[in-house]
């Protein structure tokens, strides 16, 4: 769809060969070529021996025996798959192309893992749980972004909402108990969202400016407040009890997936529900239709009697709840006490996930899971020390650049995203 739009804009004359498609082929071809060469090099340097994959962690109840496979042979097979399917991928478009691209990615990962793990005593551990843990705040943040931006309010301030949410969650969990932390976090997220809405909708401030400023503001105010808590009072004000995982009976007994997905903290379960809820709200309810209407064509929405600004307020404030919960994940969800800049840029990665997922809650969730997976793989591979950890540390970001530049390409935001509405 996006290629179609670009075609009309890009092609001045009638040409038989579609230049956009040609460019896409070159792009994909270059990526496939580089990956094939990389895999060839890895195949040549792969050590002999077996690689094993342990689907269950030693702490799980139902133990499954690890799957073992010969490293070099598997690397060879995955090289062939990457080369063949990659070539096919260059010449196919649409859903088939996406599926092929996905398979190429999986094969590449397999070959890479064979290279990394061959001759190592460690098995490849199941990355599912870690993926989810990295992805949870990203998903919350991306949902917040999706709600706001579908209504036409750009939210770059997700990072700021995370920081405020994390701080408030930590303090309120310490003072009132850890479930109150979730409420405190959500409230702080709503507070920043209210600032965003006030300045964007009421005072027509440029929303990109506003987002950046709110991130700086939230960062400044949370570290200012943290500085106000004297060392002696740290334990009574900033020392929450971290949420404990709770197994869902039945579901948590599913082999492999169960312990990873259904033995989690309440916050993760809220995240599952939130994805469903936001998707349902946006695409199945009258309210969601209104939200999307004011984000695409506010004047038309106004004409049929929708209160544009009020709907935008609602969407942004609701988004604040999710962003605040995402922030709470950093304190009550995992780390405990709040520290300066605890979200470490995750808000911006959530924003990237939102854009990669094309402003759709499900797409954004998948993109966030992709980020989570790459972070987790990086984390696991660090133990092997085959690649300097700093270089490994940049793979998630390089992967994003490749994904965005190579496969996602031009995306279309909601038409009125970032444009304040003035009744005229």
């Amino acid at each position: 769809m996006s290629t179609l739009e670009a075609t009309t804009a890009d092609a001045p004359a009638v040409v038989v060969r579609n230049p956009v498609e040609t460019r896409r082929r070159i792009r994909v071809g270059v990526i496939v070529g580089i990956s094939t060469l990389l895999m060839l090099w890895m195949l040549l340097t792969t050590k002999g021996g077996d690689v094993s994959f342990a689907p269950t962690s030693p702490f799980d109840e139902n133990q499954l025996s690890p799957i073992t496979f010969p490293a070099q042979q598997t690397a060879l097979i995955s090289l062939i798959i990457v080369a063949a399917l990659g070539l096919a991928c260059v010449f196919t478009r649409g859903a088939v192309g996406v599926a092929l691209g996905f398979l190429v990615g999986v094969a590449f990962l397999l070959g890479f893992l064979c290279w990394a793990y061959a001759g190592q005593p460690l098995p490849i551990t199941n990355p599912l749980k870690g993926t989810l843990s990295y992805a949870t705040p990203l998903i919350f943040g991306a949902l917040a972004g999706a709600l706001g931006e579908r209504a036409g309010v750009i939210n770059i301030a997700i990072e700021g909402q995370f920081l405020a949410g994390a701080f408030a969650a930590s303090v309120s969990a310490t003072v009132f108990g850890n479930y109150m932390g979730l409420i405190g976090g959500a409230a702080a997220g709503v507070l920043i969202a209210a600032l965003l809405a006030l300045f964007a909708i009421r005072y027509l401030v440029n929303q990109i400016v506003l987002g950046v400023v709110l991130v700086v503001f939230a960062g400044g105010i949370t570290s200012f407040l943290l500085d106000q808590i004297p060392q002696t009072k740290q334990l009574t004000l900033n020392n929450p009890v971290v949420l404990q995982p709770k197994a869902i009976p039945g579901l948590s007994n599913i082999p492999v997936v169960g312990p990873a997905l259904f033995t989690q903290t309440v916050l993760v379960y809220i995240m599952y529900a939130s994805v469903v809820l936001v998707t349902f709200l946006l695409f199945e309810t009258k309210w969601g239709l209104r939200v999307r209407a004011v984000g695409e064509h506010p004047t038309a929405a106004d004409t049929v009697g929708i209160k544009v600004r009020w709907v935008r307020w609602q969407a942004v404030l609701l988004g604040g709840v999710f962003a605040g919960l995402g922030g709470a994940f950093f304190t009550v969800g995992t780390n405990g006490a709040f520290d300066k800049d605890i979200s470490a840029g995750n808000g911006f990665i959530a924003l990237a996930a939102l854009i990669m997922g094309r402003w759709h809650p499900i797409g954004a969730t998948l993109a966030a899971l992709f980020f989570g997976f790459v972070f987790q793989m990086q984390n696991q591979l660090q133990l092997l020390q085959r690649i300097p950890s700093e270089l490994l540390g940049m793979t998630p970001y390089i992967a994003t650049v490749i994904a965005v530049a190579g496969f996602v390409g031009r995306v279309r935001p909601p038409a009125a995203d970032g444009e304040p509405y003035v009744k005229g």
């Binding site: 950046v212 106000q228 924003l351």
Partner: protein, 402 residues
């Protein structure tokens, strides 16, 4: 409200084509006046909010406010004292003495360069969050040239600066190229490349070639003294280089064909394309020059200070550059002024922390509030009642659709 909104947005918000309009203000000095009043009012408002934070953070004032209703004067007096002390220290620490002034200017220098980079990209319709990464690339290159090469006095400094600009330019150029060729969004690309640059720096700092001899710390040796900025009228040369860069950017944007094309593409890429301009070229070159300027900011951090290269070399300058550019409304002169203000706040903030114990993070809050108020003229006007004139609302970056 709606009336207010109408008057302050002469260009309907749906017009990306509206961007060049506020430039008309350059024509006469008087047109700047409402902007100046607005800026002063915004700063005053930000300081007022900051005052509340200072009182809250001051134990003495807080304890006296606890019996506010029985003896209100005590609380007010203590509060005013705390605020007065803190702001007096802030002022003294920023412009109160020669050394303070020097600190302010030297803090402002990298902010000017970085801010110019962000501003320039803005004018071409690109939201460059990547100043941080470009700055790291520049600082790394400058440091490497500075401590490994042996060159004569003037040449060495020049080589370090050029290396920094080339490295920053390449780092920025990658973004422009990917954006132009694949349509990938520059916000994602720049965010990701910031992290990549930081990781590369960390990796380099673990190599022997980048470590101080005999040390295993991830810290480079100091650059040679002949690769440092010499002092000129009490401030190091870097400040003048930054001013020169501002003039250069002004010249590029308003006096050259390329600058015109960048602005045209920034205002409306479709119209620019129809007019026969190459949008891709404008994007790539804008990002190259933006990266070059940020790289220069990185060099400032290395050859302007006595500091070695560490992974914290960029500090928060990359992000502060964005706020500086926004505050300066993406104009070169505005960027310089905004950078001076931020330099003063940061330099004075250190003094304020030392003298009164008010945390340095107050400076950050003040910076954010000033930009927020300046960006919301409607709010400031409703509080201070300034005559509304030109479109003081910033229209520089539209949305994702830019």
């Amino acid at each position: 409200m709606s009336e207010q909104a109408k008057t302050e947005q002469p260009n309907p918000p749906d017009g990306p084509n509206a961007a060049p309009a506020p430039r008309k203000a350059v024509a006469s000095l008087s047109a700047y006046l409402p902007t100046v009043t607005l800026a002063i009012a915004s700063i005053v408002l930000a300081l007022l909010v900051g005052a509340v934070l200072i009182i809250v953070s001051n134990d003495d004032a807080l304890s006296k406010f606890s019996y506010f209703f029985s003896a209100p004067l005590d609380g007010i007096k203590a509060g005013l004292n705390a605020v007065g002390d803190a702001y007096w220290a802030l002022l003294k620490g920023s412009v109160g003495s020669g050394a303070a002034l020097r600190g302010t200017l030297e803090k402002a220098a990298p902010l000017i360069c970085g801010g110019l980079g962000v501003s320039l990209a803005f004018r071409a319709g690109l939201f460059n969050i990547g100043a941080q990464g470009q700055l790291i690339a520049g600082a790394t290159a400058a440091a490497y040239v500075g401590f490994t090469w042996n060159l004569p006095v003037v040449l060495h400094l020049l080589a370090a600066l050029v290396a920094a600009m080339v490295a920053g330019g390449i780092w920025g150029g990658i973004v422009g190229l990917l954006k132009a060729q694949t349509g990938a969004h520059e916000v994602i690309l720049t965010i990701m490349l910031n992290y990549v640059a930081l990781q590369i720096l960390r990796w380099l700092l673990n190599l022997n070639a980048f470590q101080a001899p005999g040390s295993d710390n991830p810290t480079s040796p100091l650059v040679d003294s002949d690769a440092r900025f010499p002092q000129l009228f009490g401030v190091h040369l870097g400040f003048y280089v930054a001013l020169l860069a501002a003039v250069g950017v002004w010249w590029l944007l308003s006096r050259t064909t390329l600058g015109f094309e960048m602005r045209a593409v920034g205002a409306n890429p479709d119209a620019a394309r129809t007019a026969g301009m190459s949008v891709a070229k404008a994007y790539v070159l804008a990002m190259v020059v933006a990266g070059l300027l940020a790289g220069l900011a990185g060099a400032q951090q290395i050859v302007g200070h006595q500091d070695p290269l560490t992974d914290g070399i960029a500090g928060s300058i990359g992000f502060d550059s964005i706020t500086v550019a926004l505050l300066g409304r993406a104009t070169p002169s505005g960027t310089v002024l905004a950078a001076l203000l931020f330099g003063a706040l940061q330099s004075g903030g250190i003094q304020m922390q030392a003298a009164t114990g008010t945390p340095l993070s107050l400076s950050t809050v003040l910076q954010a509030l000033i930009v927020l108020f300046i960006a919301a003229p409607a709010l400031v006007r409703s509080i201070v009642r300034i005559r509304s004139q030109d479109g003081a609302g910033t229209v520089l970056a539209k949305g994702w659709n830019a």
